[in-house]
Protein backbone atom coordinates (compact mmCIF):
# COMPACT_ATOMS: atom_id res chain seq x y z
CA UNK A 1 0.00 0.00 0.00
CA UNK A 2 2.81 2.41 0.83
CA UNK A 3 4.34 1.53 -2.54
CA UNK A 4 1.19 2.54 -4.37
CA UNK A 5 0.99 5.77 -2.40
CA UNK A 6 4.58 6.69 -3.09
CA UNK A 7 3.99 5.73 -6.71
CA UNK A 8 1.16 8.22 -6.91
CA UNK A 9 3.36 10.84 -5.34
CA UNK A 10 6.17 10.10 -7.76
CA UNK A 11 3.77 10.34 -10.69
CA UNK A 12 2.46 13.63 -9.38
CA UNK A 13 5.92 15.14 -9.06
CA UNK A 14 7.02 13.87 -12.44
CA UNK A 15 4.03 15.61 -13.96
CA UNK A 16 4.08 18.91 -12.11
CA UNK A 17 7.80 19.38 -12.61
CA UNK A 18 7.34 18.53 -16.27
CA UNK A 19 10.26 16.15 -16.01
CA UNK A 20 12.29 16.40 -19.20
CA UNK A 21 13.03 12.69 -19.43
CA UNK A 22 9.42 11.84 -18.77
CA UNK A 23 8.24 14.14 -21.54
CA UNK A 24 10.76 12.69 -23.93
CA UNK A 25 9.86 9.10 -23.07
CA UNK A 26 6.15 9.82 -23.26
CA UNK A 27 6.44 11.49 -26.63
CA UNK A 28 8.46 8.59 -27.95
CA UNK A 29 5.86 6.13 -26.65
CA UNK A 30 3.21 8.10 -28.49
CA UNK A 31 5.30 8.43 -31.62
CA UNK A 32 5.99 4.70 -31.82
CA UNK A 33 2.52 3.48 -30.89
CA UNK A 34 0.59 6.00 -32.97
CA UNK A 35 2.76 5.28 -36.02
CA UNK A 36 2.20 1.57 -35.50
CA UNK A 37 -1.51 2.23 -35.07
CA UNK A 38 -1.80 4.20 -38.31
CA UNK A 39 0.10 1.59 -40.33
CA UNK A 40 -1.73 -1.34 -38.75
CA UNK A 41 -5.09 0.36 -39.32
CA UNK A 42 -4.32 1.00 -42.97
CA UNK A 43 -3.66 -2.72 -43.35
CA UNK A 44 -6.19 -4.19 -40.95
CA UNK A 45 -9.35 -2.16 -41.54
CA UNK A 46 -9.68 -2.94 -45.26
CA UNK A 47 -8.44 -6.49 -44.66
CA UNK A 48 -11.00 -7.20 -41.94
CA UNK A 49 -13.75 -5.64 -44.04
CA UNK A 50 -12.69 -7.58 -47.10
CA UNK A 51 -12.81 -10.81 -45.11
CA UNK A 52 -16.34 -9.92 -44.05
CA UNK A 53 -17.69 -9.41 -47.55
CA UNK A 54 -15.75 -11.83 -49.72
CA UNK A 55 -16.33 -15.55 -49.92
CA UNK A 56 -13.24 -17.38 -51.11
CA UNK A 57 -11.76 -20.77 -50.63
CA UNK A 58 -9.28 -20.05 -47.84
CA UNK A 59 -11.42 -17.49 -46.04
CA UNK A 60 -12.03 -19.65 -42.98
CA UNK A 61 -8.35 -20.56 -42.84
CA UNK A 62 -7.34 -16.89 -43.04
CA UNK A 63 -9.74 -15.99 -40.24
CA UNK A 64 -8.48 -18.85 -38.09
CA UNK A 65 -4.88 -17.74 -38.67
CA UNK A 66 -5.84 -14.17 -37.81
CA UNK A 67 -7.44 -15.24 -34.55
CA UNK A 68 -4.44 -17.36 -33.71
CA UNK A 69 -2.04 -14.51 -34.47
CA UNK A 70 -4.09 -12.33 -32.14
CA UNK A 71 -2.88 -14.47 -29.26
CA UNK A 72 0.73 -14.39 -30.39
CA UNK A 73 2.99 -13.57 -27.44
CA UNK A 74 4.68 -10.22 -28.11
CA UNK A 75 8.07 -11.56 -27.03
CA UNK A 76 7.92 -14.11 -29.81
CA UNK A 77 7.16 -11.35 -32.30
CA UNK A 78 10.02 -9.37 -30.81
CA UNK A 79 12.41 -12.26 -31.15
CA UNK A 80 11.44 -12.92 -34.76
CA UNK A 81 11.68 -9.25 -35.73
CA UNK A 82 15.00 -9.09 -33.93
CA UNK A 83 16.37 -12.05 -35.88
CA UNK A 84 15.11 -10.54 -39.14
CA UNK A 85 16.53 -7.08 -38.51
CA UNK A 86 19.79 -8.20 -36.92
CA UNK A 87 22.90 -7.36 -38.91
CA UNK A 88 23.26 -11.09 -39.39
CA UNK A 89 19.63 -11.46 -40.45
CA UNK A 90 18.03 -11.06 -43.88
CA UNK A 91 17.20 -7.36 -43.41
CA UNK A 92 20.38 -6.50 -41.52
CA UNK A 93 21.65 -4.15 -44.21
CA UNK A 94 18.83 -1.74 -43.42
CA UNK A 95 20.41 -1.11 -40.02
CA UNK A 96 16.99 -0.82 -38.36
CA UNK A 97 17.62 -2.81 -35.21
CA UNK A 98 17.50 -0.76 -32.00
CA UNK A 99 15.69 2.13 -33.66
CA UNK A 100 12.12 3.39 -33.17
CA UNK A 101 11.39 2.04 -36.66
CA UNK A 102 12.10 -1.50 -35.47
CA UNK A 103 9.74 -0.96 -32.55
CA UNK A 104 7.04 0.27 -34.92
CA UNK A 105 7.49 -2.81 -37.11
CA UNK A 106 7.12 -5.14 -34.13
CA UNK A 107 4.03 -3.33 -32.87
CA UNK A 108 2.43 -3.35 -36.31
CA UNK A 109 2.84 -7.12 -36.38
CA UNK A 110 1.36 -7.43 -32.91
CA UNK A 111 -1.71 -5.24 -33.37
CA UNK A 112 -2.66 -5.79 -37.02
CA UNK A 113 -4.30 -9.20 -36.37
CA UNK A 114 -6.15 -7.78 -33.38
CA UNK A 115 -7.56 -4.82 -35.32
CA UNK A 116 -8.36 -6.97 -38.35
CA UNK A 117 -10.16 -9.54 -36.24
CA UNK A 118 -12.33 -7.02 -34.38
CA UNK A 119 -13.00 -5.24 -37.69
CA UNK A 120 -14.04 -8.49 -39.30
CA UNK A 121 -16.56 -9.25 -36.59
CA UNK A 122 -18.09 -5.80 -36.63
CA UNK A 123 -18.17 -5.61 -40.42
CA UNK A 124 -19.79 -9.00 -40.74
CA UNK A 125 -22.83 -7.65 -38.92
CA UNK A 126 -22.98 -4.47 -40.94
CA UNK A 127 -22.52 -6.39 -44.16
CA UNK A 128 -25.47 -8.64 -43.30
CA UNK A 129 -27.52 -5.46 -42.94
CA UNK A 130 -26.28 -3.77 -46.14
CA UNK A 131 -25.77 -6.83 -48.29
CA UNK A 132 -28.95 -6.74 -50.40
CA UNK A 133 -28.81 -3.00 -51.02
CA UNK A 134 -25.17 -2.92 -52.07
CA UNK A 135 -25.60 -5.94 -54.32
CA UNK A 136 -28.69 -4.40 -55.88
CA UNK A 137 -26.86 -1.13 -56.54
CA UNK A 138 -24.27 -3.09 -58.49
CA UNK A 139 -21.40 -1.80 -56.37
CA UNK A 140 -17.80 -2.79 -56.95
CA UNK A 141 -15.85 -4.54 -54.19
CA UNK A 142 -13.96 -1.40 -53.43
CA UNK A 143 -17.16 0.65 -53.17
CA UNK A 144 -18.56 -1.94 -50.77
CA UNK A 145 -15.46 -1.82 -48.58
CA UNK A 146 -15.50 1.97 -48.57
CA UNK A 147 -19.17 2.11 -47.65
CA UNK A 148 -18.81 -0.41 -44.83
CA UNK A 149 -15.71 1.27 -43.44
CA UNK A 150 -17.38 4.65 -43.54
CA UNK A 151 -20.63 3.56 -41.94
CA UNK A 152 -18.93 1.21 -39.49
CA UNK A 153 -16.40 3.79 -38.41
CA UNK A 154 -17.48 3.70 -34.81
CA UNK A 155 -16.80 -0.01 -34.56
CA UNK A 156 -13.54 0.52 -36.41
CA UNK A 157 -12.55 3.23 -33.98
CA UNK A 158 -13.10 0.77 -31.17
CA UNK A 159 -10.98 -1.78 -33.02
CA UNK A 160 -8.20 0.74 -33.51
CA UNK A 161 -8.32 1.83 -29.90
CA UNK A 162 -8.00 -1.77 -28.79
CA UNK A 163 -4.93 -1.94 -31.01
CA UNK A 164 -3.53 1.26 -29.58
CA UNK A 165 -4.08 0.01 -26.04
CA UNK A 166 -2.17 -3.14 -26.81
CA UNK A 167 0.63 -1.24 -28.55
CA UNK A 168 1.26 1.41 -25.92
CA UNK A 169 1.19 -1.12 -23.09
CA UNK A 170 3.43 -3.62 -24.82
CA UNK A 171 6.90 -4.23 -23.44
CA UNK A 172 8.23 -7.66 -24.41
CA UNK A 173 8.74 -7.09 -28.12
CA UNK A 174 9.95 -3.51 -28.07
CA UNK A 175 12.41 -4.30 -25.31
CA UNK A 176 14.04 -6.85 -27.61
CA UNK A 177 13.98 -4.91 -30.87
CA UNK A 178 14.36 -1.42 -29.39
CA UNK A 179 16.91 -2.24 -26.75
CA UNK A 180 15.59 0.33 -24.26
CA UNK A 181 18.41 2.77 -25.18
CA UNK A 182 18.26 5.95 -23.17
CA UNK A 183 17.38 8.95 -25.37
CA UNK A 184 16.94 6.70 -28.41
CA UNK A 185 14.47 3.88 -27.92
CA UNK A 186 13.34 4.11 -24.31
CA UNK A 187 9.57 4.28 -23.96
CA UNK A 188 7.23 4.24 -20.97
CA UNK A 189 6.88 0.48 -20.70
CA UNK A 190 10.57 -0.32 -21.05
CA UNK A 191 11.39 2.45 -18.58
CA UNK A 192 8.95 0.87 -16.14
CA UNK A 193 10.63 -2.51 -16.59
CA UNK A 194 14.00 -0.87 -16.01
CA UNK A 195 12.97 0.95 -12.84
CA UNK A 196 11.30 -2.19 -11.51
CA UNK A 197 14.55 -4.01 -12.14
CA UNK A 198 16.36 -1.42 -10.08
CA UNK A 199 13.84 -1.93 -7.30
CA UNK A 200 12.66 1.68 -7.65
CA UNK A 201 8.99 0.81 -7.40
CA UNK A 202 7.82 4.34 -6.77
CA UNK A 203 9.26 5.69 -10.00
CA UNK A 204 8.10 2.58 -11.91
CA UNK A 205 4.61 2.99 -10.57
CA UNK A 206 4.70 6.71 -11.28
CA UNK A 207 5.54 5.98 -14.91
CA UNK A 208 2.76 3.39 -14.86
CA UNK A 209 0.24 6.00 -13.80
CA UNK A 210 1.46 8.30 -16.54
CA UNK A 211 0.94 5.43 -18.99
CA UNK A 212 -2.59 4.82 -17.77
CA UNK A 213 -3.35 8.52 -17.94
CA UNK A 214 -1.97 8.70 -21.45
CA UNK A 215 -4.12 5.79 -22.62
CA UNK A 216 -7.18 7.47 -21.12
CA UNK A 217 -6.40 10.83 -22.71
CA UNK A 218 -5.85 9.31 -26.14
CA UNK A 219 -9.03 7.23 -25.94
CA UNK A 220 -11.06 10.16 -24.80
CA UNK A 221 -9.44 12.49 -27.32
CA UNK A 222 -10.21 10.24 -30.27
CA UNK A 223 -13.80 9.89 -29.15
CA UNK A 224 -14.18 13.64 -28.84
CA UNK A 225 -12.47 14.31 -32.16
CA UNK A 226 -14.74 11.99 -34.05
CA UNK A 227 -17.74 13.19 -32.02
CA UNK A 228 -18.97 9.64 -31.91
CA UNK A 229 -20.40 10.05 -28.44
CA UNK A 230 -22.66 12.91 -29.44
CA UNK A 231 -23.92 11.13 -32.48
CA UNK A 232 -25.02 8.23 -30.36
CA UNK A 233 -25.51 5.03 -32.26
CA UNK A 234 -23.41 6.18 -35.09
Amino acid sequence: MTDIWSGLQAAFWLLVTFDRDLVEITLRSLQVSLSALVIASIIALPLGTWLAIRRFRFRRAVIAVLNALMGLPPVVVGLIVYLLLSRSGPFGVLGLLFTPTAMIIAQVIIITPLIASITHQAMRELWAEYHDLLISLNTSNWQRIKTLIFDGRRALLTASLAGFGRAIGEVGAIMIVGGNIDHATRVLTTAIALETGKGDFALALGLGFVLIGLALVVNFGIHVLSRTEREGRW
Binding site: L126, E129, Y130, D132, L133, I135, S136, L137, N138, T139, Q143, T147, D151, G152, E231, R233, W234
Partner: protein, 237 residues
Protein backbone atom coordinates in the same frame (compact mmCIF):
# COMPACT_ATOMS: atom_id res chain seq x y z
CA UNK B 1 -33.60 6.14 -69.91
CA UNK B 2 -33.77 3.09 -72.12
CA UNK B 3 -37.25 2.68 -73.52
CA UNK B 4 -39.12 -0.58 -73.54
CA UNK B 5 -37.03 -2.76 -71.33
CA UNK B 6 -38.67 -6.09 -71.95
CA UNK B 7 -37.37 -9.22 -70.27
CA UNK B 8 -37.58 -12.76 -71.49
CA UNK B 9 -37.23 -15.63 -69.02
CA UNK B 10 -36.06 -18.84 -70.67
CA UNK B 11 -36.20 -22.16 -68.81
CA UNK B 12 -35.28 -20.38 -65.59
CA UNK B 13 -34.78 -22.69 -62.61
CA UNK B 14 -33.47 -21.69 -59.19
CA UNK B 15 -32.54 -24.50 -56.85
CA UNK B 16 -31.11 -24.32 -53.37
CA UNK B 17 -29.94 -27.41 -51.52
CA UNK B 18 -31.70 -29.71 -53.93
CA UNK B 19 -35.06 -27.94 -53.58
CA UNK B 20 -36.54 -26.11 -56.52
CA UNK B 21 -37.56 -22.63 -55.42
CA UNK B 22 -38.43 -21.25 -58.81
CA UNK B 23 -39.10 -22.74 -62.20
CA UNK B 24 -39.05 -23.90 -64.72
CA UNK B 25 -40.33 -20.52 -65.85
CA UNK B 26 -40.74 -19.38 -69.44
CA UNK B 27 -42.26 -15.98 -69.73
CA UNK B 28 -42.03 -12.79 -71.68
CA UNK B 29 -42.51 -9.72 -69.51
CA UNK B 30 -44.48 -6.89 -71.03
CA UNK B 31 -42.25 -3.94 -71.95
CA UNK B 32 -44.15 -1.35 -69.92
CA UNK B 33 -46.84 -0.89 -67.34
CA UNK B 34 -47.12 -2.27 -63.84
CA UNK B 35 -46.87 -6.00 -63.26
CA UNK B 36 -48.05 -7.28 -59.90
CA UNK B 37 -46.76 -10.65 -58.74
CA UNK B 38 -49.04 -12.43 -56.30
CA UNK B 39 -49.15 -15.85 -54.79
CA UNK B 40 -49.03 -17.60 -51.41
CA UNK B 41 -45.97 -17.52 -49.15
CA UNK B 42 -43.12 -19.58 -50.53
CA UNK B 43 -44.41 -19.43 -54.08
CA UNK B 44 -41.14 -17.86 -55.23
CA UNK B 45 -42.24 -14.22 -55.64
CA UNK B 46 -39.09 -12.67 -54.17
CA UNK B 47 -36.91 -15.14 -56.06
CA UNK B 48 -38.62 -14.17 -59.31
CA UNK B 49 -37.96 -10.49 -58.63
CA UNK B 50 -34.34 -11.11 -57.77
CA UNK B 51 -33.97 -13.29 -60.84
CA UNK B 52 -35.25 -10.50 -63.05
CA UNK B 53 -32.94 -8.05 -61.25
CA UNK B 54 -30.02 -10.35 -61.94
CA UNK B 55 -28.90 -10.91 -58.35
CA UNK B 56 -30.10 -14.50 -58.04
CA UNK B 57 -27.84 -17.38 -59.02
CA UNK B 58 -29.69 -19.41 -61.65
CA UNK B 59 -29.42 -23.16 -61.70
CA UNK B 60 -30.66 -23.27 -65.27
CA UNK B 61 -31.86 -21.01 -68.03
CA UNK B 62 -31.39 -17.30 -68.55
CA UNK B 63 -32.95 -13.88 -68.32
CA UNK B 64 -32.61 -11.67 -71.35
CA UNK B 65 -33.25 -7.94 -71.15
CA UNK B 66 -32.13 -7.37 -74.73
CA UNK B 67 -29.06 -5.45 -73.51
CA UNK B 68 -25.83 -6.55 -71.80
CA UNK B 69 -26.37 -7.38 -68.14
CA UNK B 70 -24.44 -4.48 -66.63
CA UNK B 71 -26.40 -2.03 -68.80
CA UNK B 72 -29.65 -3.61 -67.69
CA UNK B 73 -28.61 -3.46 -64.01
CA UNK B 74 -27.83 0.23 -64.24
CA UNK B 75 -31.36 0.87 -65.45
CA UNK B 76 -32.93 -0.97 -62.55
CA UNK B 77 -33.66 -0.25 -58.91
CA UNK B 78 -34.95 -2.49 -56.14
CA UNK B 79 -36.93 -1.71 -53.01
CA UNK B 80 -36.85 -4.31 -50.27
CA UNK B 81 -39.63 -5.43 -48.00
CA UNK B 82 -37.88 -4.08 -44.93
CA UNK B 83 -36.13 -0.89 -45.97
CA UNK B 84 -32.34 -0.99 -45.67
CA UNK B 85 -31.19 2.30 -44.23
CA UNK B 86 -27.56 3.29 -44.43
CA UNK B 87 -26.38 4.53 -41.03
CA UNK B 88 -26.24 8.07 -42.35
CA UNK B 89 -28.43 11.10 -42.67
CA UNK B 90 -31.49 11.15 -44.92
CA UNK B 91 -29.53 13.37 -47.31
CA UNK B 92 -26.57 10.99 -47.44
CA UNK B 93 -28.90 8.06 -48.08
CA UNK B 94 -30.33 9.86 -51.09
CA UNK B 95 -26.92 10.94 -52.38
CA UNK B 96 -25.45 7.45 -52.07
CA UNK B 97 -26.66 5.96 -55.40
CA UNK B 98 -25.77 9.19 -57.20
CA UNK B 99 -22.24 9.25 -55.85
CA UNK B 100 -21.81 5.60 -56.83
CA UNK B 101 -22.75 6.65 -60.35
CA UNK B 102 -20.25 9.50 -60.16
CA UNK B 103 -22.80 12.29 -60.39
CA UNK B 104 -21.60 15.83 -59.65
CA UNK B 105 -22.39 17.58 -56.41
CA UNK B 106 -24.64 20.26 -57.88
CA UNK B 107 -26.79 17.82 -59.81
CA UNK B 108 -26.95 15.53 -56.79
CA UNK B 109 -28.13 18.36 -54.54
CA UNK B 110 -30.90 19.33 -56.95
CA UNK B 111 -32.17 15.78 -57.11
CA UNK B 112 -31.94 15.28 -53.37
CA UNK B 113 -34.04 18.38 -52.77
CA UNK B 114 -36.56 17.31 -55.40
CA UNK B 115 -37.03 13.82 -54.03
CA UNK B 116 -36.96 14.81 -50.38
CA UNK B 117 -39.77 17.29 -51.08
CA UNK B 118 -41.66 14.68 -53.01
CA UNK B 119 -41.64 12.20 -50.12
CA UNK B 120 -42.24 14.88 -47.50
CA UNK B 121 -38.85 14.54 -45.80
CA UNK B 122 -37.40 17.89 -46.92
CA UNK B 123 -37.24 19.14 -43.35
CA UNK B 124 -35.57 15.97 -42.08
CA UNK B 125 -32.66 15.84 -44.49
CA UNK B 126 -30.06 15.97 -41.74
CA UNK B 127 -31.69 13.45 -39.44
CA UNK B 128 -30.18 10.00 -39.12
CA UNK B 129 -32.10 7.71 -41.43
CA UNK B 130 -32.16 4.71 -39.04
CA UNK B 131 -34.26 6.79 -36.63
CA UNK B 132 -37.12 7.45 -39.08
CA UNK B 133 -40.50 5.76 -38.65
CA UNK B 134 -41.31 2.67 -40.70
CA UNK B 135 -43.33 4.59 -43.28
CA UNK B 136 -40.69 7.30 -43.61
CA UNK B 137 -37.99 4.69 -44.07
CA UNK B 138 -39.88 2.97 -46.87
CA UNK B 139 -40.57 6.29 -48.60
CA UNK B 140 -36.90 7.16 -48.31
CA UNK B 141 -35.96 3.76 -49.72
CA UNK B 142 -38.33 4.37 -52.62
CA UNK B 143 -36.94 7.84 -53.29
CA UNK B 144 -33.40 6.45 -53.12
CA UNK B 145 -34.38 3.81 -55.68
CA UNK B 146 -35.95 6.39 -57.97
CA UNK B 147 -33.28 9.06 -57.71
CA UNK B 148 -31.27 7.53 -60.54
CA UNK B 149 -34.36 7.52 -62.83
CA UNK B 150 -34.45 3.77 -63.33
CA UNK B 151 -36.19 2.30 -66.35
CA UNK B 152 -37.36 -0.64 -64.23
CA UNK B 153 -38.37 -0.51 -60.59
CA UNK B 154 -38.71 -3.69 -58.54
CA UNK B 155 -40.64 -3.59 -55.29
CA UNK B 156 -40.80 -6.55 -52.92
CA UNK B 157 -43.87 -6.07 -50.72
CA UNK B 158 -43.00 -2.44 -50.09
CA UNK B 159 -46.10 -1.78 -47.99
CA UNK B 160 -46.01 -4.75 -45.65
CA UNK B 161 -46.47 -3.55 -42.06
CA UNK B 162 -47.18 0.06 -43.03
CA UNK B 163 -50.05 2.26 -41.90
CA UNK B 164 -52.77 3.31 -44.33
CA UNK B 165 -51.48 6.81 -44.85
CA UNK B 166 -47.99 5.66 -45.79
CA UNK B 167 -49.46 3.09 -48.15
CA UNK B 168 -51.55 5.76 -49.83
CA UNK B 169 -48.52 8.07 -50.26
CA UNK B 170 -46.37 5.29 -51.64
CA UNK B 171 -49.04 4.14 -54.07
CA UNK B 172 -49.60 7.65 -55.40
CA UNK B 173 -45.86 7.98 -55.87
CA UNK B 174 -45.82 4.70 -57.77
CA UNK B 175 -48.65 5.80 -60.02
CA UNK B 176 -46.70 9.01 -60.69
CA UNK B 177 -43.52 7.26 -61.75
CA UNK B 178 -45.48 4.76 -63.80
CA UNK B 179 -47.08 7.61 -65.70
CA UNK B 180 -43.66 9.05 -66.39
CA UNK B 181 -42.72 5.76 -68.08
CA UNK B 182 -41.02 3.67 -65.42
CA UNK B 183 -41.65 -0.04 -65.66
CA UNK B 184 -42.84 -1.40 -62.31
CA UNK B 185 -42.64 -5.01 -61.18
CA UNK B 186 -43.92 -5.55 -57.70
CA UNK B 187 -44.98 -8.29 -55.33
CA UNK B 188 -47.70 -7.81 -52.77
CA UNK B 189 -49.82 -9.72 -50.31
CA UNK B 190 -52.48 -7.07 -50.39
CA UNK B 191 -55.03 -8.01 -53.06
CA UNK B 192 -56.62 -4.57 -52.75
CA UNK B 193 -53.30 -2.99 -53.59
CA UNK B 194 -52.92 -5.41 -56.49
CA UNK B 195 -56.29 -4.31 -57.87
CA UNK B 196 -55.42 -0.63 -57.43
CA UNK B 197 -52.04 -0.76 -59.18
CA UNK B 198 -51.86 -3.72 -61.53
CA UNK B 199 -51.69 -3.47 -65.28
CA UNK B 200 -51.13 -7.18 -65.55
CA UNK B 201 -50.89 -9.92 -62.92
CA UNK B 202 -48.58 -12.89 -62.51
CA UNK B 203 -49.92 -15.59 -60.18
CA UNK B 204 -47.10 -17.72 -58.87
CA UNK B 205 -47.63 -21.10 -57.23
CA UNK B 206 -44.96 -23.62 -56.17
CA UNK B 207 -42.31 -21.73 -58.12
CA UNK B 208 -44.22 -21.71 -61.38
CA UNK B 209 -46.44 -19.28 -63.20
CA UNK B 210 -49.86 -20.65 -62.56
CA UNK B 211 -51.86 -17.91 -64.18
CA UNK B 212 -51.16 -14.74 -66.06
CA UNK B 213 -53.33 -12.05 -67.58
CA UNK B 214 -54.18 -8.39 -67.71
CA UNK B 215 -55.52 -7.09 -64.42
CA UNK B 216 -58.99 -6.79 -65.85
CA UNK B 217 -59.27 -10.39 -67.03
CA UNK B 218 -57.34 -11.89 -64.13
CA UNK B 219 -59.45 -10.35 -61.40
CA UNK B 220 -62.71 -10.82 -63.32
CA UNK B 221 -62.15 -14.36 -64.55
CA UNK B 222 -58.96 -16.12 -63.51
CA UNK B 223 -58.31 -19.11 -65.69
CA UNK B 224 -56.84 -21.54 -63.15
CA UNK B 225 -58.84 -23.06 -60.28
CA UNK B 226 -55.97 -22.25 -57.85
CA UNK B 227 -56.12 -18.58 -58.79
CA UNK B 228 -59.86 -18.60 -58.23
CA UNK B 229 -59.36 -20.14 -54.82
CA UNK B 230 -56.58 -17.66 -53.97
CA UNK B 231 -58.72 -14.67 -54.95
CA UNK B 232 -61.54 -16.09 -52.84
CA UNK B 233 -59.23 -16.05 -49.86
CA UNK B 234 -58.87 -19.82 -49.59
CA UNK B 235 -55.63 -21.37 -48.50
CA UNK B 236 -53.70 -22.48 -51.55
CA UNK B 237 -50.52 -24.50 -51.37
Amino acid sequence: MVENMAARLQDVVVQRRGKTILGPVNHEMAPDGCTIVIGPNGAGKTTLLKTLHGVERLSQGQVDWGVPEHVARQQQAYVFQSPIMLRRSVRQNLIFPLSLAGKGRAEANDRVTYWATKIGLAKMLDQPAPRLSGGEKQKLALARALIRDPAVLFLDEPCANLDGRSIREIESLLLDVQRSGTRIIMTTHDLGQARRLAGDVLFLLRGQINDYGSAQTFFAAPSSPEAVAFLNGDIVE
